[in-house]
Every structure is written in structure tokens, then in C-alpha cells.
Symmetry: C2
Amino acid sequence: MIGSTLDHLECSSTGERHDATRLHTTSRAGRPLLARYDLERAAATLSRETLRGRRWDLWRYAEVLPVQRRENIVTLGEGATPLLDAPGLAGALGLPEGSVWVKDEGRNPTGTFKARGLALAVSRAKELGAAGVAVPTAGNAGAAAAAYAARADLPCFVAMPRDAPPAVAAEVRAFGAELELVDGLIHDAGRRVAEVVAARGLLDLATLREPYRAEGKKTMGYELWEQLGDGGLPEVIVYPTGGGTGLIGMWKAFAELAAMGLLPADAPLPRMVAVQSTGCAPVVRAVEQGDARCDPWDEASTLAPGIRVPRVFADDLVLAALRESGGTALAVPDEEIVRGVRDLARLEGVDASPEGGATLAGLRRLVASGALAPGERAVLFVCGTGLKHPELRP
Amino acid sequence: MIGSTLDHLECSSTGERHDATRLHTTSRAGRPLLARYDLERAAATLSRETLRGRRWDLWRYAEVLPVQRRENIVTLGEGATPLLDAPGLAGALGLPEGSVWVKDEGRNPTGTFKARGLALAVSRAKELGAAGVAVPTAGNAGAAAAAYAARADLPCFVAMPRDAPPAVAAEVRAFGAELELVDGLIHDAGRRVAEVVAARGLLDLATLREPYRAEGKKTMGYELWEQLGDGGLPEVIVYPTGGGTGLIGMWKAFAELAAMGLLPADAPLPRMVAVQSTGCAPVVRAVEQGDARCDPWDEASTLAPGIRVPRVFADDLVLAALRESGGTALAVPDEEIVRGVRDLARLEGVDASPEGGATLAGLRRLVASGALAPGERAVLFVCGTGLKHPELRP
């Protein structure tokens, strides 16, 4: 035992409990399952003080992670990414120093934040005896799944759009996974994965169709809490939103921290801001229309593959996080995404994926609309490295 | 003050002292300068216990780093990379679990261990008032210099061979540095940098021609010490050797740790093993011939750009580290390098640069020759990410 206080899984829609000692994908109601912990017990050992001296990766938060036995941890050293003060960006936006921060998630294994979720999902797949894993992906989740499956010595099947970044397809193959390129988008890949899973008895790791990728992603929220220390959580989090796992995960992390008494009782939580592309903005449209769910986006098109997600499976949870946090959703055009990527490199030395560039474009719009008050801090989630995107180099 | 105990700079050849409060490149004798600290004072505050809770990057070792004032630290969150147990590689080599470890340096900013050295060099350039920086490079040091110069808002000039990896050239440009592609190899780039430095008053950051890149690289040694804890330093370190800064730096780190009383008095230090390519092996040849210096290698050729370094400026220091540690040097052909890259990905989920693959090829030869005794542990330095090398994908 490494101290996990995992208690059960809960249907995010009906609240029905599911046994956490068995493999699950979605709930009996067909909706996302969320991991629930004995947070009272977790709070007895998880604190800023006890975290000092723990390992330098996301497994430092063992109490609120689902893996039961240390030997089932499949790790490449994911998490514990830098949170960088970005005075150059702040200056370019006309903001004072200390207003803009970058969480550089490109520093994870396989160069993207997908590693966090897949490390957890593959570890639990191993722990609970899955014969292998399969994942539909815009690209990077497939690369991460392939890497962790290689490390765990589990078979891995990946389906991704034929026009996904060639660097990512090559990466999946290098890790020894079986790759199938699919005509269409990520939901078309999802259909293909469902067929393969049914035929071969693999575990489907599609976004929020299993409970543990969100648990890995939530550690981004724990890290913000730990890294900002006495400064408290940031006022605004700008997050590139495709399937929304990280946004849901971080919102869950803040609720857990609050329940454990690790946040000041009166401190407001961050406003969560989802950034999408004008070429694929189902969440933005739902927010603007006040809808509780997202309609599929027709003819999705953007140069940022990670946010080219026309059907958001956990749309209700994404929209709830935005609403409950007092946040919003913004769409930015591709040319602003490219400008964001270039400014991150030129002004801060941060090599960002296009989705990362989108967050800077989103922040520009927030600032222009006065949505960031004086003294407030915004954290941009640069979710991946620019090394996979030679097409965006100046 | 952040606790640096930097005292002076010392000529590695004559021992002559140089003032550490001014910018220097080489010593008055034209040889590398090494930073010397008040290690007695450092030992008063640097210990396993005090390191608990410090920041998750190489700046945690502030006492033995040269930067004097916190505001001069130019950081992208470098260092604190994972040290991964590699049972899959151990098994493939016929070794027991726990024998093979991978230090995944590809997780640094700009995807290589060059970030460590350039973070320090650029921070000191800023602290001591340099007008800008320039660097000759096989590629990755240029990308790192460009990133840190962007972050420090300093001009940066980079010269690299025309046949350097295109991904790296594009990266340098993205960070806003001035890039010049040079006919020839890294020493030809070095001549061009010397001209530009003279004309523009920039600081030359060529390998071991300034004292602080080695200080950044030495933190790899401190991390091994910290990460392996009570297990003690590994018996063997397998290191891809071009200019040799990291090898020299780690050997210096172990001497500092010993001087501070942070190593058991009777424990042997690691045997340092330099891996080069059969197409460019000046260090290997010197070791085989028992020479104290390395002759330049004619017609250097290998697909691993980082070890295509025919003239080793700090050859005496590299050879001394190998000799004093009881280590050796090995040359491996390109096809074994490619196999190493593929096995790291397929067996461990680690995406390695060709120089990283070379270390696995080197370890295979060590094992075949019986140079790794039963129960000994070898650490492979995977110095960069495979994402910059699409040409090596299967």
C-alpha cells in the first residue's frame, strides 16, 4: 500500500456507486465515473509539510490517487512540471509582473500533459488485470498510451485521424504500439477503438470513458496549489479544451483540497477559462447559449489537433466546472494561435504546441475585455511541446 | 543572496586563481576555468535534510552554484529529471532487475541536457553584465542558449553545421536567436563564433570555454546522489561524450560531495564510461593509446550529432575523469546506436536521441566484456528527446 484512500467510483450523472476494485469504463448509466476517496483519512497524511521530501513526480500525491500497490505504478516520471513566472508575456499584455504564469506541461514524458492521465490509466489497467489497452486520439494521448503500455509491457492499440501530426504517428510506432490511421476525426477513431476493444478484450482508455485519466490530470491542480504556496491558487486558469479532462480534473482537485481543509475557507477558487478554436468550439457555443450540454460541432477544423474535438463526451462536467467557477469559454482563430506559439517562444523561451499558443490568444482576449482585474494572476496551460509541430516554426 | 558559496575560478591546468566577480571565458593560460566554492560553508546548509522541500529544479543546489542573486536566475525549470529503473532493458541484457537505470535528460527545457549548462551560463552572463551571448554548437546547445537568451531578453548568436538536424535549426529560430549555418563541423562553427564575438562584444559560451556550463551539468551528479539516496551512487555511469562537459561536471560534483562529507568515506565513486561513435572517437583512441590529450579526429561522421565532436577542448579533464574513476571509453557504430534508440522506446517507453541510444549500445558492450560485475548498477544518460530525430523512427 502506498497510502491510496480510494473508496469507490461514482457515476457523475446519477451518483450511483461502483466498485473500485474492478475494471470499469463508463457507469451503468453510460456516463463518466469519478473516483472518490476517503478524504478525511487522506487529510491525516497529506499536507504541505508531509509533501516535502516526497518524490518529484505526480505520485507524490499518493493518498488521492487510485493505485493501491506501489509495484503497479507505471511511471516515466510524469508531473512536477515547472510553473514559470512570465514577465515578458505580462509586459506584452500591458500587465504588471507576476500576473501571467505558464505551466509548462510539454515537459512531461512524450512531451504533453497526456502523460499524466495515461500513467494513471495504464497503472490501473495493470493493477486490475487488463489484457491490454486501446485509445482513440487526436494524437498525443495515443503517444502517451503507447509509451506507458511499452513500459508496462501491455499490448496497445491506437486509432487516430489520418491527418494527425506525422511526428506523433511516428512516436506511437516507435513505442511499439499498433497504430491505425482513420479517415475522419477523433470520434471516428473512437468507433474503431470500440470495435477493436470488443473483438480483442482490451480496455478502452477513451477520454472520460474510464475513470483514471482524470485522476492523473487532476494532479495539475494539486501542483498549482503546492507551487504557489502561500500566494494561494491563481485567480484565473486558461486551459485549452478538447475533451476537457484536465479542466474537470483540476476542478475536482480543488474540491478535494477544500474538503481536506487544505485551502483557506474564504478564498475564492480559480475561474476556469476554456479556450477553443473558432473552427471547433462546441463548449464556447454552449456557454454562449446557456446550454447544459454541447451539440456536436460540424466540419471541425483547426491547426491545433488537441482541440479539434467536435463531440465532448463529458460536456456536462466541463460546463459545470466553468459555471461553478465563474469562468467562461473563448474561441480564438488559428492565426492568433500561431501568434501565441511564437510569442511564447520569443518572449519567454517556452516552446509550445498550438494548443498552448491558444491559451495565450485566449488571455489576450480576456485582458482586452477587462476580464482580468488588476492584481489578478492567470496561469496558462501550455499542454505540449512545440517539437511535434515543425509546421508552426517561423 | 541565495546561498551561493562561490569563491573563485581556478585554471584547470595551472591552478591560477581568477576573480569570479568578473566575466571570464578561458584562463590566462587558455585552458578551462573551474568554479571553486567554500565547501565548508556550503556543507553547513546543504544536506539531504535541507534539500527536502526545496524547489523542483537544479537551483535546489544553490550553495554549490555560482549565481549570487536570486533575481539573476534565468530559469525554465531545468533539472530534477527522472531517474528510471529499467527492468525491461536489464532483462534484455540478461541482468537482474535494478541493474540498469535511465536518467531521462530529454525532459529538460528544449528537450536536452544542454539546458542545464546554458541556464547557468546565461544566468551568469546576465548577472555579470554581458551584452549578449554566442555559441557554436552541434545543435542542441544552440537551442538551449536561444531559449535562455529569450527568457533573459539578451541577444543570442548561434552557429551550427549546415547538416545539423533541421528540427533544431528551426527551434533556434523560433526562440528569436540569430542563426548562421556553417559549412563544416562544430569547431568550424566555433571559429565563426569567435569572429562574431570579437566584432560585437558578445560572450562566447562554447563548451568549457566559459566556466558555468559545467556547473549546470554537474547537477546531474548531485541528482544521482539525491535520487539514489541510501543506495549510494551507481557503480557505473554511461555517458555519451562529445565535448564532455557533463562527464567533467559530474566528476567534479562527486568530489564536492565528498569534500562536504556527503558521501560515505569508504564508498568507491562511479566508474565513468564515455561512449562515442566509431565514426568520431577521439577520446576512445586516446584512452586506448594511453595518451594524456586527444588528437583531432579526421573525417568525423556519425548520425548522432551531439557526439560528432572531433576536437575535444577539455580533453585533459575528460581523460582525467575516466582515469581517476577507473572507467573507460567505448566506440559504437551507428547501427548499434539506432538499435539502442529503438530498444529504449520499445522496452521502456523512453524516447531517446541518438546519443542516448549510444549509451545503451555502450552498456551492451560493457556487459558482453564482463565489465559490469553482478549486483552493480549502471546509469545510462539519455541526454535528449527523440522528438528532434524523425529520421530515426522505425
